[in-house]
């Protein structure tokens, strides 16, 4: 019969305290969460608290880069987009060539303050225009004709984070699917938190207890499952508690993306030792009626990113966090007849943080194109991954990426 006042321990200290006070947890130590068993091997170096954190924002569906960062001095832009082209007067102009989409006032401010950088015209050779395949290429960091079963960050975990104690999840995704970026060869504590209902959907009340109290004989597959499930649920519960207790120090707008980023800020502020967070914003597949839809998306993205950054600054955590957007492809420069754009190739990518060195990287796309032709990328997306691995995570990109890619020195 479970004690109604019993709360499951969420830290090693709590666990030991409760065990010592006779709650009998030691009695099922065969199913003790991993943090206990790990703590025994004191040789493993303790992870530092101030290590760098990466936050990925996926723009799913293929963001129209050309209308996000607009080359208003390029006549070709207006030639290819007679209806969808945005006039200079409506843009947030940031230099003599380009301006942000009208919905991106906050991003424009961040850019001017040096907290946001644009990497222009990012893509890869032989681009694939299928959503799923191109996203897979981005997430696995593969060549266009290569199929990898691990994500680029999964390989980073395999090579650089194996054997470290994983009391907290190493990577955490908010969303209903486990992102491919985290697929790894070894088992890591990778955690995914449902995005619906604000992100806080734990196991139903009673599930942890039911599984904890389950009577399974030791060293069977059943007890192994019980142990791993417990671990997963204890992490889940811990994460949800951290989310509940959070005081944001910036005002987040009322959107799903903002709620998800607020949750990420909460977990970072709680000291959770997660290295990579993943959030997603969908709806970028604007084949029709793009003007309205893209505006709504930019109005979601821009203020949410700004609030997240402001919150980190207010908590004094901004030095630790690098935020990066990515999308499976940009859209075709020529607009289509439905007031939209079709699947394209390269697009700008944004990085945000207070450790950035400059603001604008890579060359702008060449739009001297015939109707319905696609842009040619000028910066390989794996150059950015390489930069993040080397300069942000302080690891060797060779362990993660096949081939050599020139770093882009934004950090």
């Amino acid at each position: 019969m479970p004690d109604p006042h019993f709360t499951y321990p969420t830290t090693r200290r709590e666990f030991l305290r409760q065990s010592a006070s006779g709650l009998g947890l030691i009695a099922f130590s065969s199913v003790a969460p991993a943090f206990l068993t790990h703590s025994v091997s004191a040789k493993v170096p303790k992870a530092e608290k101030d290590r760098s954190i990466l936050v990925l924002i996926q723009l799913a569906g293929g963001n129209d880069g050309l209308n996000t960062v607009v080359p208003f001095e390029d006549d070709n832009y207006y030639r290819l987009r007679p209806k969808l082209g945005i006039q200079k007067k409506d843009l947030h102009v940031i230099d003599d060539q380009i301006g942000f989409h009208p919905g991106c006032s906050e991003m424009s401010e961040l850019y001017k303050n040096g907290d946001l950088a644009i990497i222009q015209n990012v893509g890869y050779p032989n681009p694939n225009r299928s959503h799923f395949r191109s996203m897979e290429i981005w997430e696995t960091g593969s060549k266009s004709n290569e199929f990898l079963t691990t994500g680029w960050l999964g390989r980073y975990f395999d090579n650089c984070c194996s054997g470290t104690p994983e009391e907290d999840p190493l990577a955490l995704g908010i969303g209903n699917d486990m992102p491919d970026v985290f697929l790894a060869g070894d088992a890591h504590n990778v955690f995914s938190l449902g995005a619906s209902r604000g992100g806080a959907t734990g196991a139903p009340t009673g599930m942890v207890e039911a599984i904890r109290d389950g009577d399974y004989s030791a060293s069977t597959n059943a007890s192994f499952l019980q142990h791993t499930l417990m671990n997963t649920m204890v992490t889940e519960r811990k994460v949800i508690e951290r989310l509940r207790g959070y005081n944001a120090m910036a005002e987040y707008p009322n959107s799903n993306l903002a709620r998800n980023l607020k949750n990420v800020a909460a977990l970072i502020a709680s000291g959770q030792e997660t290295r990579v967070y993943f959030v997603s914003l969908g709806g970028f597949d604007t084949h029709a009626n793009q003007e309205t839809r893209h505006m709504a998306l930019m109005r979601q993205l821009s203020p949410a990113m700004a609030a997240f950054q402001a919150d980190l600054v207010a908590h004094g955590l901004d030095d630790q966090v690098l935020t990066m957007t990515f999308s499976e492809f940009g859209r075709r420069p020529s607009e289509n007849v439905s007031g939209g754009t079709d699947h394209g190739t390269a697009a700008p990518l944004f990085v945000m943080g207070s450790q950035l060195k400059g603001s604008l990287y890579g060359s702008a796309p060449d739009l001297n194109l015939q109707k319905n032709k696609d842009m040619t990328y000028s910066t390989d997306f794996r150059s950015i991954y390489s930069t993040v691995i080397r300069r942000w995570f302080d690891a060797d990109p060779k362990l993660v990426l096949d081939g050599k890619f020139k770093d882009i020195k934004f950090i």
Binding site: F132, F147, N176, N189, V190, G206, A210, G214, T228, L229
Partner: protein, 488 residues
């Protein structure tokens, strides 16, 4: 397991009961749905096996693959007149077409395997796919994967050497293990090595010289752009080779023949079957040996092996009940069968979940295949399993379907196979039991262990903060995430 007299002789009829029927259901197929167990119990082991494996159930080439092959032919014609830029574009188009078709193939196969009449056969096909491994990543052509899988299927009624002979010359295998680069004067040992190590004999049952010589014997095969395998006499090494101490002018047939003269060959596949169907740990050689002898005496007949294995005292030994961790495929298809649901007709909502759970369709990480067992389980794959369950509890929001998916759902509705989530009526049936019986009823229905004790607490806890149907969904979702449900 205790020592059993004559371990591979059939379980006496007197010992046949609901428990043994349940065990057989969970191992030859994916589910222990009461209707399946009931039928198996009535038919007995022999009748069940005859119904399950007696004749090959054809899985016809999916239309998407046929269409793709047509398009590939056109593209190849176009390529002949194309300049280099156009050629590249055509290649990309072809690759996109292959990827899309691969996704559709995965869904089509799941639909076929989900039909309980086909499940035992298709699980057996999966077993052979797990011995004779090829992957989409390595083959990159869904038509060749279908062909490979179908060769397995149509050889289920024949002998294992025949199957091995045939699979060796499929375009999928010739590509996957570089047989097309294995030619006279510059042998490639990749295939020869795996033929011995992973497909027929097991490690330690051959020497490096055997591999080198066998590789020479296996030279000469090529595969062309139309995915046809040819034997090119000029590429074949006709010199003398010595394999397992026998010298001669061996070719593929000769290699297969000499492989199956090895004592290890008779033990290898039975042991693989034990690991796939009975216990991940395998059984000691001395337990396997009598089965090996019998199988060899049958001329390595696959039906004979299957029949003997699933009728045997060993198979029904209580030590092996509810001890195996379900593979993601078993978990997924089993869930659908247990809950009487249909395969969602789009990879995004069906077979992509297999990948999140760690078993992408026809795409194991390497030639060893899936490691299985406890390797299926970690926090990410458990979360993926939980998410799969949650996704079956409520309808998928219609406004989030893309145009292709809408069409596929409409087609499924027209065919009457559009039950994609648990209905309130199903819940009422499950939870309509007397309150004291609900936990047991759920366990009987879903847990191979039938142990509902661990659910009692759950039922006590959950009503406090959930009301009505929401509460039932929560209980059901929890039951389907509990350790017991991951076991078969």
């Amino acid at each position: 397991m205790k020592t059993v007299q004559d371990p591979w002789s059939p379980l006496p009829e007197a010992k046949w009961n609901t428990e043994t029927a349940r065990h057989l259901a969970s191992r030859i197929g994916y589910s222990i749905h009461p209707s399946l167990v009931g039928r198996i119990e009535k038919r007995g082991a022999e009748g069940t096996l005859k119904a399950a494996f007696g004749k090959i159930r054809p899985f016809h080439k999916p239309d998407d693959i046929i269409n793709m092959e047509g398009k590939m032919g056109e593209y190849q014609m176009m390529q002949r007149q194309a300049d280099s830029v156009e050629k590249r574009e055509l290649r990309q188009k072809m690759q996109r077409e292959r990827n899309r078709t691969y996704g559709e193939f995965s869904v089509d196969w799941c639909k076929f395997a989900r039909d309980p009449l086909n499940s035992p056969q298709e699980k057996l096909v999966q077993f052979f796919q797990d011995v004779w491994v090829v992957s989409y990543q390595g083959v990159r052509n869904p038509a060749s994967l279908y062909d490979f899988q179908n060769q397995i299927r149509i050889h289920l009624g024949k002998t294992y050497p025949e199957m091995c002979r045939r699979l060796s010359v499929t375009p999928a295998m010739v590509r996957y293990l570089n047989q097309n680069q294995n030619r006279k004067g510059s042998p490639n040992e990749n295939f020869a090595r795996e033929l011995f190590e992973l497909f027929c004999l097991g490690e330690g049952n051959y020497t490096e010289t055997d591999i080198k010589e066998a590789a020479r014997a296996l030279t000469g095969y090529t595969v062309n752009g139309l995915e046809k395998v040819n034997f090119v006499r000029q590429r074949h090494d006709t010199g003398k080779k010595t394999i397992f101490g026998q010298t001669g002018n061996f070719d593929l047939d000769g290699v297969i023949e000499v492989v199956f003269q090895q004592p290890a060959a008779a033990r290898f596949l039975p042991q693989e079957m034990v690991r796939f169907y009975l216990t991940e740990e395998g059984l000691p050689d001395e337990v396997i040996q009598p089965l090996a002898d019998e199988w060899k005496a049958s001329g390595y007949s696959i039906p004979h092996l299957v029949r003997t294995f699933f009728s045997s005292k060993v198979f029904y030994d209580p030590a092996f009940r509810g001890n195996m961790i379900k593979s993601p495929t078993q978990y997924y298809i089993g869930l659908l069968q247990d809950l009487e649901l249909d395969v969602f007709p789009s990879p995004r909502r069906s077979t992509n979940q297999l990948r999140s759970m760690g078993q992408q369709f026809f795409n194991p990480p390497n030639v060893r295949g899936w490691v299985g067992g406890r390797h299926w389980i970690n926090s990410a794959t458990l979360s993926a399993r939980k998410q799969l369950v949650n996704s079956l509890m409520y309808p998928f929001p219609k406004n989030r379907l893309n145009a292709d998916e809408e069409r596929a759902v409409e087609a499924a509705t027209a065919e009457g196979v559009d039950h994609f989530n648990v209905t309130p009526q199903q819940l009422r049936k499950l939870f309509g039991e007397e309150p004291g019986r609900v936990a047991d009823a759920i366990a009987e229905r879903f847990f191979v262990t039938q142990n509902g004790n661990n659910l009692q607490d759950l039922l006590r806890e959950i009503p406090r903060d959930r009301k009505g149907q929401g509460r039932f969904y929560a209980v059901l979702a929890t039951a389907l995430s509990a350790p017991d449900y991951h076991l078969c």
